[in-house]
């Protein structure tokens, strides 16, 4: 049992501070990055969109890993961290979709189309909205944790489908610019570096939020136990 007082511990503060600092640096890099020959300055949405997408995937995968750990070990802390990660992933996904729509309207000509990438993202988001409905619907903590873990583990299936959708099916969404499948980067260094800085900033912030939310949930659980 943890004995600390609620509030930011040293590691949370350090991660949060570093994350915000990196975000500022990333923002500076992004506004200093050159425009794209076709899109002009619109390309800057990419620094937000890709960073949010990648960390969103990461958050959902981590939620699945903690869910699996919970089922194997039965420690409530794993359930709390799984829920915290899924929630951060959901917000990052919303951020990705909003950025993507702002980019799509001037580029493709529409905010949204039901093409493979966008449809698989919509399914992914719906599943994680469902995850939180499951958590709300079940009152018994152990039942809730088990059912939520099942959804979180099944939800991970979405990530490879969503990521690969632009390779498997014909879509209007372009394939990845940092192409880990074909090991190519379709981007000059003056754009790649800002993207990587933003990616790093988002990852550090994700870790900070995960730790803060996990600790908060632990304090809540401890308080509920002492009250009841």
């Amino acid at each position: 049992m943890r004995t600390e007082r609620p509030g930011l511990d040293a590691l949370s503060s350090a991660l949060l501070g570093l994350g915000y600092l990196l975000l500022l640096i990333g923002f500076y890099f992004a506004i200093k990055a050159p425009p794209d020959v076709q899109q002009g300055y619109l390309v800057r949405i990419l620094y937000l969109h890709v960073a949010a997408a990648w960390t969103g995937y990461l958050a959902f995968i981590v939620a699945g890993v903690y869910a699996l750990l919970y089922l194997l070990r039965g420690r409530p802390a794993f359930d709390r961290l799984s829920a915290a990660s899924a929630e951060i992933g959901l917000w990052l996904s919303f951020l990705m979709v909003i950025g993507g729509m702002m980019w799509a309207r001037p580029t493709w000509g529409v905010y949204w189309v039901w093409e493979p990438r966008l449809t698989s993202v919509a399914v992914m988001i719906a599943i994680y909205v469902g995850y939180f409905l499951v958590r709300q619907a079940i009152e018994d903590p152990e039942m809730r944790a088990k059912a939520a873990a099942a959804v979180a583990i099944l939800g991970v299936v979405n990530i490879p489908i969503t990521y690969m959708s632009v390779y498997w099916w014909r879509s209007i969404h372009q394939t990845a610019t940092i192409d880990v499948i074909n090991r190519k980067t379709h981007m000059p260094p003056e754009m790649l570096i800002p993207l990587l800085v933003n990616l790093f900033a988002f990852t550090v912030l994700y870790l900070a939020f995960l730790r803060i939310k996990g600790r908060l949930a632990a304090f809540e659980a401890a308080r509920e136990e002492s009250d009841g």
């Binding site: 050159p34 425009p35 794209d36 020959v37 076709q38 899109q39 002009g40 300055y41 390309v43 990419l46 001037p106 580029t107 493709w108 000509g109 529409v110 189309v113 039901w114 093409e115 493979p116 449809t119 698989s120 919509a122 399914v123 719906a126 599943i127 909205v129 469902g130 409905l133 499951v134 709300q136 619907a137 079940i138 009152e139 099916w169 014909r170 879509s171 209007i172 372009q174 394939t175 990845a176 610019t177 192409d179 379709h186 981007m187 000059p188 003056e190 754009m191």
Partner: protein, 142 residues
């Protein structure tokens, strides 16, 4: 007790089911190419389809007064003349990948929705890029 959450859950499950079996089924083949259309013309006859390909060089005719846009869509093998009413998107130009939604009317494809397919490659303009130069560049790209 918590009926509203179960209703919410049912709505979400229904939406996912609809997107997978209804939406995704259709959008898996998001567009067909002109060659594929000609191979199976009977199947697509009179149906609303999405045609995807490249805007053929030198084929764009746009009348700013009537907003009538005509161009030839090609996949390198087959070509389709396209008619579209409305201002083309900013990135519309020769050799640009596009997807057109609409239906055939005789030999011509009448599009009512014109989408630009952007590539995954990003590239700054070759020379120095002051905002003015970029604005000029973007204007020329139109």
């Amino acid at each position: 007790m918590k009926a509203k959450y179960w209703i919410g859950l049912l709505v979400v499950v229904g939406a996912i089911g609809y997107m997978i079996w209804g939406g995704l089924g259709q959008s898996l083949v998001y567009f067909i190419t002109p060659s594929e259309y000609f191979q199976d013309q009977a199947k697509y006859q009179g149906k609303r389809i999405r045609l995807g390909g490249i805007v053929k060089e030198g084929s764009i005719q746009f009348d700013p007064k009537t907003l009538e846009l005509r161009f030839v869509l090609t996949d390198g093998v087959a070509e389709v003349p396209v008619f579209h009413k409305g201002t083309p998107p900013a990135l519309f130009k020769e050799r640009q990948g596009v997807v057109v939604e609409g239906r055939f009317s005789g030999e011509t494809f009448h599009g009512d929705n014109l989408l630009i397919k952007h590539s995954e490659t990003y590239q700054p303009p070759k020379e120095g890029y002051t905002p003015e130069e970029v604005r000029k560049l973007i204007k020329e790209a139109k």
